[in-house]
Symmetry: C2
Subunit: 359 residues, 2 copies
Amino acid sequence: MAGSDANETAYKAAFMWRRQQDRGGPNVEFTQEEMDSAMNNKLAPGQQEYSIMSFRTAFHGRLFGSLSTTRSKPIHKLDIPAFDWPQATFPQLKYPLEAHAEENAAAEKKALEEVEHLIKTYHIPPCAVIVEPIQSEGGDNHASANFFKGLREITKKHNVLMIVDEVQTGVGATGKFWAHEHWDLPSPPDMVTFSKKAQTAGYYFGNPELRPNKPYRQFNTWMGDPARALLFRSIVQEIEKHDLVNRTAKVGDYLYGKIEALAKKYPGQFENLRGKGMGTFIAFDNPRRDEFLKRAKAFGINIGGSGQSAIRLRPMLIFEESHADILLEALEGIVTSWDKDLSKVGKAKAVPGEGTAKP
Amino acid sequence: MAGSDANETAYKAAFMWRRQQDRGGPNVEFTQEEMDSAMNNKLAPGQQEYSIMSFRTAFHGRLFGSLSTTRSKPIHKLDIPAFDWPQATFPQLKYPLEAHAEENAAAEKKALEEVEHLIKTYHIPPCAVIVEPIQSEGGDNHASANFFKGLREITKKHNVLMIVDEVQTGVGATGKFWAHEHWDLPSPPDMVTFSKKAQTAGYYFGNPELRPNKPYRQFNTWMGDPARALLFRSIVQEIEKHDLVNRTAKVGDYLYGKIEALAKKYPGQFENLRGKGMGTFIAFDNPRRDEFLKRAKAFGINIGGSGQSAIRLRPMLIFEESHADILLEALEGIVTSWDKDLSKVGKAKAVPGEGTAKP
């Protein structure tokens, strides 16, 4: 299953948890009115309607519940019915971070104030907030550990769950097994969702109150799929055996430093470089992004884009410094070949029409 | 991925298709207003809202869109926000069919009239109707080929798509590869969804108008997952090599005949026997259903329940007459052992608390 499934089961757990509180605990039986209303897709009289809050430019999946929290691009959402759920602004940091520390802190403070305002005033109050450690599909948008600590405090204060969507960031790429380990939160996220590298989909949680109070409230044909669980275990074992998370942290630092040097050498070509200390989860902007990605193929490397102008690096966990050097050579080749015919640059023949960014 | 994913992607295709008609075709660009509205989970001014219609006691999955069309049991739906989509009554046939031909035909006619009425009057008009060939989770509820032909005619007439959910019925168990082959429809369903036996999830369609007009409108990490496609191909090859669909039809007829004989021998124990001519997709009701399923385990067989009182058979495609005989012996053993202590019947020790029906 996919990240969409992971997030939606987490949302279901959040709704069940909040309604259970309203009801007075896990042992209070559903009323006949509640059951009849549910069968008609309605709330029972007196039942509070809840929502899931997400952030602008977030991506949490493409099914009907997850798509209601996805705010990346119109093409993902057009024509598909959505729930009337709230979105808060994700802080838009300026780079380099050192040069914009005050401005960025203010942007994060303002974003948190908006979150709290929406929690207190939105006409369908959120029972959970979902957030990506790094907004991936939305353009590799980062926020500081302080921002996420603030988010944890606000959600705790208002009895709202904090769901961390680690579908892209989870399983090592940021130099920690889970990206939220970078934040040193005062208390853990309520739920952490995963898929992709895990070869399966789901969420983990620590609070026993999040366990559904009856069987079959969360259920699925492949639930607990043993073949996928074995695959994930093998992946984890392989990661541990080869110390791949720490190695990714190290090679990420190496790669970041080298791109930083390229950015100085070629002004305007590697803008808003981000992902320092976040393993190989590195991105930068280029004003000719789509052409950049096309040219990358001519140099024999396959990179993707995200958001409006980001070029995002997502090497596998076995990526080493020697691979980084190949990539770096290609990156330099791309930005020094703009005036050359695409068919005459790089190592491979370019395939026209391919290599464009994911819209 | 799962049946929920299969159905939701089909719903998405349905919404895109209908809005594309409203817009004037696949080459009409989205307006800025449409794109802005979509990003806010809203309809653009003047845009028509659409729904997906399903049937009472239907089961189409547990994610937010599919759950909005699932109408099986409150436990599946309680506390989870749902779209305000319409449901029509699924005809409730009486058994044996021969003895209630007129009454059943009237029930199906009435159900179709309700479908047409809802299509014409529901405040959020449906752009698609989804139906299971046999309502599985809902209790193995059958309808005649005539009913489905009528549904095809009504949906065609009103420009509504007909989606057939073959997540449970697909891939051979009914004695045809797809259960809807039993109906001899005047024109094929618009979309057929599948998962489970296919080891993957998706839908197939014939009408090119159902193809999204832009890339990335339907997309997913595992889309076209080659490993799963190879698995499904191998399954299809194995089915063809061993002629498993035809053999399932034959062994189903054998099994049905034998249970029919048991029903005569033990009145009240195998009520509303259904699935004649539908391969091994056979079910019956028993007034002590949950106890029946528990006792079945004591006889060494694992059967499931569905709906309020159904015992449903779902043997694998390699089920042969010799296996049917073992099952039949157990079935007879169960219904002649009601007065015996559970620990003293059958071949295996009963495990108290296990073997209850899926709620």
